[in-house]
Assembly symmetry: C2
Homo-oligomer: 459 residues x 2
């Protein structure tokens, strides 16, 4: 059993079917997920050189780190040892040239996320060209570029097929969120960071970290150091520094305020002569004022709108979850809205298949353009009752990706029938698997195992 040699097995059960399923169509269609706003392509093939690098006037560390992550990801842990002398020099890509017009890396709601990607560059044919107004637009462009790259095992080289590519892209909605819940089950830091990486592959840009709830309080609050005694265990906690680090990784971070019942004991209710709903209203309106005075944006779950909507600050964003039709009423009242109707966009509803995630239209019955603009986006919710570090990835993916395309891609380019995009979404889920993300098969309910032997692209 020398390592350079091998154990030698013999069995009698092999009858290999040759030549099955290897189709050229695999590399002759636009496979990008989510589909960009505008795509044109050709039929040429380019090859990335072994020292394919970043070329940019920008000194942005965010950009450099993202480029290096992208390079690691597209190699998919394969051995890349092509014989480049065999390739035509004019078909080689030596690098990606990136132009970012604004040096401002301040990130806020409404930050420009558009980009333009050309492969190869019309001016420097040995390079790909990416331009964006902000570094965050460039990050999306890098994700798209990564999906143009295909590792050819036969040639042991990274290829870009169907070039020349010109992709002009920007999101339909500015708020494209995923909720994770660390109260019902603690999620290790490594798991949260992996979720964030995978969100970026689908161009989701808001992590809504539902850190605490009734079941556990894993977060350190330095000014109230006993709160995190409510964690499940000593290990199942996040320091304030951990939380700050997660939020530094994010395009946009959200945090919830869950202190209502901590602030209002039943004793206090009596003292203030309020019943529970009065106290709740008092708390919410007071908290709104405090938050606004500190320059925060405020988002309230829809109960506040349903119960005392007219009293809410006009700056409130109402977060829908109870069902459809709420967004319509919210924007008619002039407030902004985030769509998360539980019948379609709750990932813990395992019997909601990806097709329903795909078809959930945030602007249903909202035709007035001014009102349409008040729907700032949507969020898929991964509530944690049956989700921990063992199964969160395949409960989120690929269904969250279906919603991500709904939120990114222009309405006119969305498939009317989800079957039209089954193959492309299957491709994206296999891409996630290749990147080490445990995205489940498309067939079946949420997080079903593959039903039997077969190709990733058909399951």
């Amino acid at each position: 059993m020398v390592a350079s040699k091998a154990l030698f097995y013999a069995v009698a059960v092999v009858a290999v079917v040759l030549g099955d399923a290897l189709a050229a169509s695999e590399i002759s269609q636009v496979k990008i997920w989510p589909m960009p706003a505008s795509v044109s392509y050709g039929d040429a093939r380019l090859y990335l050189t072994s020292d394919f690098g970043l070329s940019s006037d920008s000194e942005s560390q965010i950009l450099k780190d993202a480029f290096n992550r992208m390079l690691a990801v597209i190699k998919q842990d394969h051995v890349i040892d092509a014989d480049f002398s065999a390739f035509n020099r004019s078909s080689l890509l030596q690098g990606l040239h990136i132009v970012v017009s604004s040096p401002d890396e301040q990130l806020q709601y409404g930050t420009d996320e558009s980009y333009k990607l050309m492969v190869p560059s019309p001016e420097k044919p040995g390079y790909a060209h990416l331009e964006a107004k902000t570094v965050y637009g460039a990050l999306h462009g890098l994700q798209t570029f990564s999906q143009l790259c295909y590792f050819s095992i036969g040639r042991r080289v990274l290829e870009v097929n169907m070039s020349p590519w010109t992709i002009i892209d920007q999101p339909r909605f500015p708020f494209r969120g995923l909720l994770i819940d660390t109260s019902r089950h603690y999620l290790p830091m490594a798991v949260i960071k992996k979720v964030i990486d995978s969100m970026s592959y689908a161009k989701l840009n808001v992590l809504h970290w539902h850190i605490v709830d009734t079941q556990s309080f894993p977060l350190e609050i330095p000014s109230y150091p006993k709160l995190w005694d409510g964690a499940y265990s000593l290990s199942e906690r996040y320091s304030a520094a951990d939380a700050a680090e997660v939020s530094a990784l994010l395009t946009t971070a959200t945090a919830e305020n869950h202190f209502f019942w901590l602030c209002f004991s039943c004793e206090q209710l009596k003292r203030h002569r309020m019943n529970e709903s009065q106290a709740y209203q008092y708390f919410v309106l007071r908290a709104q004022k405090i938050a606004l005075s500190h320059g925060y944006e405020i988002v309230n779950w829809e109960e506040t709108f349903n119960d005392f909507g007219s009293k809410l600050s006009r700056k409130t964003v109402v977060h829908n979850w109870l069902g459809g039709g709420v967004a319509q009423r919210v924007v008619e009242s002039g407030l902004r809205c985030i769509v998360s109707n539980q019948d379609k966009w709750y990932l813990d509803h395992l019997d909601t298949p990806w097709e329903e995630f795909y078809q959930n239209e945030p602007l249903t019955n909202i035709t007035n353009p001014k009102q349409q603009k008040l729907v700032i986006g949507g969020e898929v919710c991964m509530w944690g009752e049956t989700v921990d570090g063992s199964d969160i990835e395949q409960t989120i993916w690929p269904r969250a990706a279906a919603a991500a395309e709904r939120l990114w891609t222009p309405y006119d380019k969305l498939a009317k029938n989800p079957r039209e995009v089954t193959g492309r979404l299957a491709n994206f889920r296999c891409l996630l698997n290749e990147r080490g993300v445990a995205a489940a098969p498309l067939a079946g309910n949420g997080r079903d195992a593959p039903f039997g032997p077969g190709s990733c692209y058909k399951q």
Copy 2:
């Protein structure tokens, strides 16, 4: 929604239970998995300095890489920013001193895997001390050291509790395997590499890569370049270089020979005037001779032993799978055996709980010490019919870990009742989650989701 600020939610459903479940016992028991041969410990606490490093006369790159991987793993992606001026200097560990007595890094069946770990070093108290005959023993010692390290979120520092530790350790069986199957479903390279990392955490040392079978042939064979046309798709393939890289990552690699039906068409059977079973026997015996002439070890699935055992080479290792009792007959006949009885050690049998994996004793009814030595170990088998990149980790773990302890730990130290080790195995599965490995809860069948909210340590 500036990143440095946050969205601000208000909801009305929070009533946190304070002080629940935080038990000091979490850090006052031996939690190492698999349990070492000999362990002694004390009650002192040591702290790893922020520049905790490797100190060794060895120039081994294998050792340096493993040390760096270990350091990354124990940090578990937390922010580590302890104020070291607050600690007593005598309680600080500045590094790990490693002594490897043999410079020989040739790896083969029977390579010494023993190690001795002392924390702190009796001679240099500011260091931990690890010694081993081979670098591979030292790797196991690093895994054990990693499990002594505990990240204290309260103090934001890596601690070693219950020191001084003295651990003297070696495996009970030299062959501790895991089979993966890339014929029923392709497994991306990133997934295979992650499986290998996770195997090392449980001190499993043999990856049995069942690369090809009836359903698909994903492997490049340069001398027969059409074979991998039998892959599911162009992407679902491994180049010969990929396979060589995987085998370079391994402690011991195995490869199977599945060419029987390719070599023997029905035409050929007629021409040779053999029926199928005659042809199979001819093939196996011929392949044995060829393999032996090239210096390979040979392992045959048990059918060969059951059908024509007396004709097999005396060097054959018989791989049991059909059921119990086979190992006994194999070693009575003087051949060596690997135990994988499907009723207990097939991971694709989802209704076999971890307790049965733990209790499966390879030496059942084998009392003669000479015969006992012929049982070289065992292997848990992750057949791939319903396993792909989405669910392989939680189908393997934690059940493979239960078998790993059976194969590593001295018989007398194994729990007679698996309930005695439930807490320690739960701890190991949470450790895997913290390291980004999607190990499933202990409760329920293989890869069941957590049944409801709760602590990782209790599910």
